[in-house]
Subunit: 383 residues, 2 copies
């Protein structure tokens, strides 16, 4: 429970649901008869509708980016340090929107939703959704909100991939693209880690081919393993070393057994167990596949610059020195291709020791860059 | 089946078993009433007993380092490219010994062996074995073979850790120490990966608390997952990229489902499935714990140089540029501590793209260094 809502918080917020009744044909060829998009908004849309900022969330994120759902909440939204009155993305100036993507388990339609054709949860029969599909649904939400052009679209990690896809697919609908800790496509190593996570879930006997809702079970062990693997890849070796070193749990002697010896083991088990309480295993499967499949240059023979030929947005690309999931090199690939495509692009490589997770943290240099960038956008938009 | 035994092979070899009947008190405080050590020898011990080289193997290795057990073998021993007549560790000059460590599943006593007190497999009741325990059993083997001093003790990865422990615990019993792709202790990230592997095995319902032998099952899924995770950490991101890229399996279209799409997925699943056919899950648990526990400096307040104060061996330390499991930085920690301790040490940082696995591969620069080093040892020993 939060003691007192801080003054620079967007405060108590609530989500909205957009029920779309038109069918959506997806990149995979299948279609959804209709779907729900859950989203939140912070700040006020101005009369010119020129101050709207769209946030795109990452794997385990959701629409709840800032503020609290109630005074009983222990924690605010996932990007609360970035969004609020006086924060880098300043809600006194900007109208900020964040929607949960399809396939997730946080309120938008996903594999745990009811398949109207069967009256049962979709499970693995849910159609495969891609980053391009998500962007199309976000465009539907933009229309619903009456936003013809976003002042900026912003995202980190898988969120950054959605920003790239927006700039490619709807070049006239965003003025600025902010792409943080992302990559133009996954490496074989990235896909390898995702595949191990999927195998962990799918080989859990409580998975039941994805029909565990009906079986009254949950593939908890598999999903916890997936989260543990994920966590290691989100943190740098250095950050883990500084955080845990080889400290034994509670400073105890070695157990010479298979109980927890080291703090890092305790941390990972806890993270795994906590995750299964609020995340759906099927969603994890679908979202990791969307990551694996993301490769916008594939439609242009692998030529990323050609892929960016039509972009109109001005880009800020940012990476973190210790990120080994999507290393700075991957951001530089994006920057170089944008340059070759003649796009306007700034690049910031931020010294940070927290690995991929840095994009979520209030790192001073990072926040200074974001603040300055959004101040320029505000000026440019006359806000 | 090998077409024809190559001329530079040690040829058809067979293992020996040393049945030790004296009890061994282990670092954990428990003792083994007796144990078997399985080992192989290549070349001939000279009259002066001055040409003996001990190899220490890594996690999934064994005593079978070179040659073939029969003409039907598809592959030779795990370090066949390094050991043989005319090879860097030249069996025309050196007498080479490799023993399987306790806790493994390749012939030396381990958790799948029969506990004489119960008449059943030890399982998790097998006592925790450490790198120091292994070195003590290798010293027993040295006595049995009549080798008072090894010309060199050599090992990569976990094998290199055994070499360090030898130099610390039995300084007068080795003239040269060759420590390849090792670390003075595991990082929090290393321990984290090991913990995820152990959780994968132990949460497999076929694990039965380690008593799966009695249950007639095998925790195949868990062990396969552990091997898949391991494989990703053995290869560099670059090496995986060069080997698999984002190639789809057989050049097929994306499946938009959860079957294998990418070559890297197919490779990892295959490696996982193959591993479970010849490795015991309990051994994997014990060996990863031995890795986690390895920290010889702990007994000296974390001062690695003080730990090395009594070493007499001359060291060659080698690392590989793309190794991120035990990065060159970890080898440099060893080198710097040896320097501070006044030990003789050479260091080679080898450009290689294959990650941690490089230590097993016939990389020309690596083999040149090893060849030159063993030629100097041969000269020095008057071989």
């Amino acid at each position: 429970m939060v003691e007192k809502i801080p003054a620079d918080s967007v405060g108590i917020v609530s989500y909205h649901d957009l029920e779309v009744r038109e069918a959506l044909t997806l990149a995979c060829g299948q279609s959804l008869p209709g779907y729900n998009l859950r989203y939140e908004c912070y700040g006020e849309l101005n009369a010119a509708r020129s101050n709207a900022v769209l946030l795109c969330h990452a794997l385990s994120g959701d629409h709840h980016a800032a503020g609290y759902h109630s005074a009983e909440d222990r924690k605010p939204g996932w990007w609360d340090n970035m969004i609020g009155p006086g924060k880098p993305i300043d809600t006194r100036r900007f109208f900020v929107v964040c929607s949960n993507f399809l396939g997730s388990c946080k309120g938008s339609t996903g594999p745990a939703s009811i398949n109207p054709a069967t009256g049962e949860p979709w499970g693995l029969d849910f159609p495969m959704v891609t980053v391009a599909d998500w962007v199309r649904t976000q465009a539907v939400l933009s229309d619903h909100l009456g936003i013809a052009q976003w002042a900026a679209i912003v995202g980190g990690s898988l969120g950054g991939m959605q920003v790239l896809q927006w700039a490619i697919d709807f070049p006239e609908r965003l003025r600025h693209a902010v792409v943080i800790a992302a990559a133009p496509k996954l490496s074989a190593q990235n896909i390898g880690f995702n595949e191990v996570c999927r195998q962990a879930i799918m080989s859990d006997p409580d998975f039941h081919g994805g029909r565990y809702y009906q079986a009254g079970t949950k593939p908890k062990h598999g999903l916890a393993l997936a989260r543990m693997i994920g966590h290691i890849t989100y943190l740098s070796d250095d950050a883990m070393g500084k955080k845990f070193g080889r400290e034994t749990r509670g400073g105890k002697q070695l157990s010479y057994g298979f109980d927890i010896d080291f703090e890092v083991e305790s941390y990972l088990r806890y993270q795994g167990q906590r995750f299964v309480e609020h995340f759906d295993a099927n969603s994890y499967l679908f979202i990791t596949k969307a990551l694996d499949y993301f490769d916008p240059a594939a439609a242009h023979g692998g030529d990323l610059a050609a892929t960016f030929a039509q972009v109109q947005a001005r880009f800020l690309v940012a990476s973190f020195s210790s990120d080994w999931r999507f290393a700075p090199e991957r951001s530089r690939e994006i920057v170089q291709a944008l340059f070759r495509a003649g796009a306007a692009v700034s690049y910031a490589e931020i010294e940070a020791q927290h690995g991929h997770d840095s994009f979520l943290l209030p790192i001073p240099q990072y926040h200074r860059i974001m603040r300055a960038h959004f101040e320029r956008i505000a000026e440019e938009q006359g806000l």
